[in-house]
Symmetry: D2
Subunit: 372 residues, 4 copies
């Protein structure tokens, strides 16, 4: 998805569709004297946020949330902006950990994390830190076990993140990626969505709008009632798998679809995951039977005399085999991160230690910037 | 549905929502000297059209398309407008036929029919008639067998009739009527739509938007493919009936659902028809087992140890148990009838004998009047 | 809507569609010795719950949540079940308060309220009460100001109430009622939904599925972003009103649409409210200009030279001019009330004083009963 | 879109999703002695049809419907199957014409065309031809001017082609391609669909399901009424362009959006075409102002001080910048071509000369093969 293009050209295009981020950058308070440690995906979409932070006077250290998503060209570009970034694509665990340790060593005053690696590595006691941000549910879960010495503001659970990104973008981009990767449509196909949280709801809606006959599985009875109110069938997992032509998991739970349950699925079923982990599907068992790789992102698995098509190796389909979020919709994310960082620098440090939901007023400022 | 109210009050309300009809009335050519025989449902929604015709100078005879739909207050109101109308609600066949014969005797110059009764009664040889209109598929079928002495313009098959009324209004009004009559929703219920022509498509869409899990039966493979492309399951009739909680017929074919096929339907299934006939469902067999009438329009039928709820006696649900079309959407119908009558008077008489589709230009004029 | 029918016939029909309530009744713990004070709408849909409570051995007092919704036939029927009920339709404030005082005097052990009248009347110190239930947002707000001597379990904020009733039922029933009351459709009409909480979302979705061109106003930028992600235009209130043909309020805020703002709306605009209060629209100003009442539930208001059609006097459209919830969907409500009452009797009393969200496990039990 | 892969690997994948084509191939009558001239896009999706024809004993000549869509690897593969194919990617007009002339010279007995080139080149008098097929509206228009010596069966106007391909596939694939090519979503963007025939309807539906605020322009009042019944705004072209953020043309008419009209569109508008021609947009004027090509398929055009993004050079977006139809949906197309060719060989030659709609029974057979 254009990943080979020079970062500068991509950035020029991106900037046409991120006006809120530009406005948030212009509204940042002076950050001279701040040392900010950012742990995130080192993708081109994050560049404008880094540029804004250094532009406001901060010293910035960037670490990879996941070495698999690091782009070296982006790292190089960030270096050019004055960001300290040692990460390289595919860093092995040792080097990845060393990069984080070095950034921690620099003595950050503020944190902006996706996954809480720096907080976890220091037991939440990073000495000079006044306040932090956390963007993921996984990170929030990990923070819950720590005796934090500073406040951390959770923005994963903001309505504008759950309600827009998780609810709409993931589903649509997953279905688009399905068509791109397989060359096959879902018109008239029976699609089973496993997991009916916000992501699953978006997936079910998108699959229906792409012409599929959609059914939904979820162990929570309230979720099944909600799915039924939109006219989705709500079979048990066993019933649903027995007739599914496409299975899309969005549970957030490893092994949500056990290998044994999958045995009943029809020959030729497509299997993909849009939840945050990579193990919702029985990836190990499937990969034991791989017989071919007919298209990038598609593995043919022969198991028990039946064919299964595993997409993106069971990793998050829209990210691992597609472009992730569109450029324009990421404008809200980076604008929000900038508004939140400004809040950290000016007010957040005076909040009590522990995890707080990012104040609605901060989120509203970012939303207003997007609305223009 | 307010049928008891004085016609004048209803008319005053109706006229607020039929501006196109008013514009079409104003644009009518002079009709002095014309004798127009109109065969239609003698309902309040038709009154503005009659008023326009008499206002333009025509002599008008009104006959009932069906004595069951005649409202005496409407007939009286029409008489007040100068229309010759002998029809009364529930006229027995003899009187109904006599009314038509008298109107034919008056020597009409133009016809505007719903069902072609006057043309059929005279073998299509009505002497003074220059041209006619026909509004129904049934009428068009009946005209096909006649050696017509004049041109008749078919407006049933106009895209704006098939694509708006049949495709949208019937389905929505049928689902609204279902909720009104039963007091029960279709959220999460399995609804089987039998017949996937324009009416069935509208019914399927409306049922989905009301929260049902919708499946579609149609013997035509192309119709099943089309339904599948919108994500509707397309079982056989037997498979569909075996799991349906609501069955809605829209086939246009008597006995589309035979009693034997219905035996497999679950206990407590609702049965209703939205096709033009009243015999798509096995009404006789069902009525043989009626055990109660718990609400107006609902019959409880016990057959073979299972309960079926028959709605509106198997007649067209939205008309027989509901208000039919909303007032505003009928504006297009009466505006079109007026434009078409003006066309008959000025140009239509010079067309060759036989059935023609009403020219698109005439329909477009009516549509433009509605668009305002 | 069949309100005249004998309650017994209605109940017989209702019971066909409330199997979960029957199962919840059968699963109730013995309630002998409990005195339960229920404050609710005295409508037929509540009868099965009362029957279950008395059937389980409880002594039950019923008070009206609102004298305007009390049905005398229902009150009589409840009396026949052994429920103590003094309420009559339209009780004046004094008698209404006296009824409540008498029930309080009886010394209830458990409360089940809609609006918290009994708790408020006693300052939350009702001596013998072990635990209570509250069903409305208004009630929860009122309880917040009290120093409660017992735990009250909030079930208004359960996902199955917000996500099903508020999100789906209200919107659909409001649109159905619009068509029933006006006789007019919304096909192609510009509908402005004011307020985009769960109710507003359901209204916007329903209006779109009924064929309207829908726009949404909400002061919260996140709500506007969410509406935009579904393709609804998101004008300011002034912009939206200037072109709206139908205005539907769902804000929960009195005077959400001020009279001055409404002045710019086009001639012939329909105005209705689906929020819980009756003053979201400028009812007083509108009623100062009433010139006619062409259909039940419709007032023609002439203001500043323009016509406005006020529906249901600005009260909640689906309740004040329609049947409220369908019978089948109310099954979840009464099943949940019974599960929750069983919980109060067995476990709830041991919780600390104050307001708690009803435990998810209780809600899940009710949801599972509905799923069958 | 994987066009670089070896044809054999693509074919192996394709064959997994084209079971109806395989069944139609197996059901072909013997074609020994037939010489079939096929004019089509020489794309991998057509290979199974050619393989079936040669497998049934026919001699087959393949000519390119458009040299721009010819893939040399496909041509080579066809040669390996025994098909006579001289076409190469990008053949200049002279060579393209010579290829066709040579195939005509071979004396075909049956024709299967997309665009009617062979019939037009011979004035419809190709001597040995018994019958032909035509797949495009353009071809049907061209045939109308000829005095055909043989029957030609039109399958473009079959309900399963108009109702599935044109109505659903084009719209969805166009929107997917929009996101792929631009990296930008349409969430909350105002999309103007120009032209509301079957293709435009599919585009409008798809754009709405992708989160856009959709409006529709069409000069036909009936089309505007139909769009309004689905809740799409129906401004004039001038009004619509003045606020459009994305313009998608689907009119089938060159210059449907004149340069002058486009001048009022906002800065940064995206322009793309999904109609069959490449000149619905003012391509020449736009290209006179091109200042950059930031991504493949995107041209930045600066005109009158405003920026316009022209996609795919104004050619059909889903084909010129995307993969066209998904593999599975093309199964119906090639199955239908085979059923139709079998019909030509056995019955079609006995029909009278001139253009006929392909009999519904033939289309139904293909549809049944797809339904499985």
């Amino acid at each position: 998805m254009n990943r080979e293009g020079p970062v500068e050209a991509e950035l020029a295009w991106l900037e046409r569709f991120t006006p809120a981020t530009a406005r948030a950058a212009a509204a940042l308070p002076g950050l001279t004297g701040e040392r900010i440690l950012v742990v995130c995906h080192l993708d081109v979409k994050m560049v404008p946020m880094f540029a804004a932070l250094t532009g406001a006077g901060a010293e910035v250290w960037a670490c990879a949330a996941n070495p698999a998503t690091t782009r070296d060209q982006v790292a190089a570009h960030l270096t050019g902006l004055g960001v300290r970034v040692a990460a390289r694509a595919g860093d092995p665990p040792g080097r990845h950990a060393a990069n984080l340790a070095a950034a921690i060593q620099a003595g950050p005053t503020l944190l902006s994390e996706m996954g809480a690696d720096a907080s976890v590595a220091t037991g939440g006691r990073l000495p000079g830190v006044r306040a932090g941000l956390e963007a993921t549910g996984t990170g929030i879960d990990r923070l819950a076990g720590l005796d934090l010495a500073y406040p951390v503001f959770n923005w994963d659970d903001l309505p504008i993140k759950q309600g827009l990104h998780n609810r709409h973008l993931v589903g649509l981009m997953a279905l688009i990626t399905f068509v791109n990767v397989t060359g096959v449509s879902v018109f008239g196909r029976r699609v089973l969505v496993v997991g009916y949280g916000p992501v699953g709801r978006g997936v079910a809606d998108a699959a229906r709008s792409f012409g599929a006959v959609v059914e939904v599985c979820d162990p929570a009875p309230g979720a099944r009632l909600a799915a039924g109110h939109l006219g989705f069938g709500t079979p048990s997992l066993a019933e649903g798998l027995a007739r599914a032509e496409v299975v899309l998991t969005a549970t957030g739970v490893d092994h949500a679809v056990p290998a044994a349950a999958l045995a009943a699925a029809p020959d030729g079923v497509f299997l993909a995951n849009v939840g945050h982990g990579s193990l919702e599907l029985p990836v190990a068992e499937l990969r034991a039977g791989v017989t071919g790789n007919p298209r990038p992102g598609v593995e043919v698995c022969e198991l028990g005399g039946r064919t299964r098509y595993l997409l993106a190796g069971g990793a998050m389909l829209n990210l691992a085999a597609g472009p992730g979020d569109p450029f324009d919709t990421f404008d809200l994310v980076t604008a929000l991160m900038l508004e939140a960082t400004g809040f950290l620098a000016t007010e957040g440090g005076s909040w009590p230690s522990g995890v707080h939901l990012l104040p609605a007023a901060v989120a509203d400022r970012a939303a207003r910037l997007v609305l223009g």
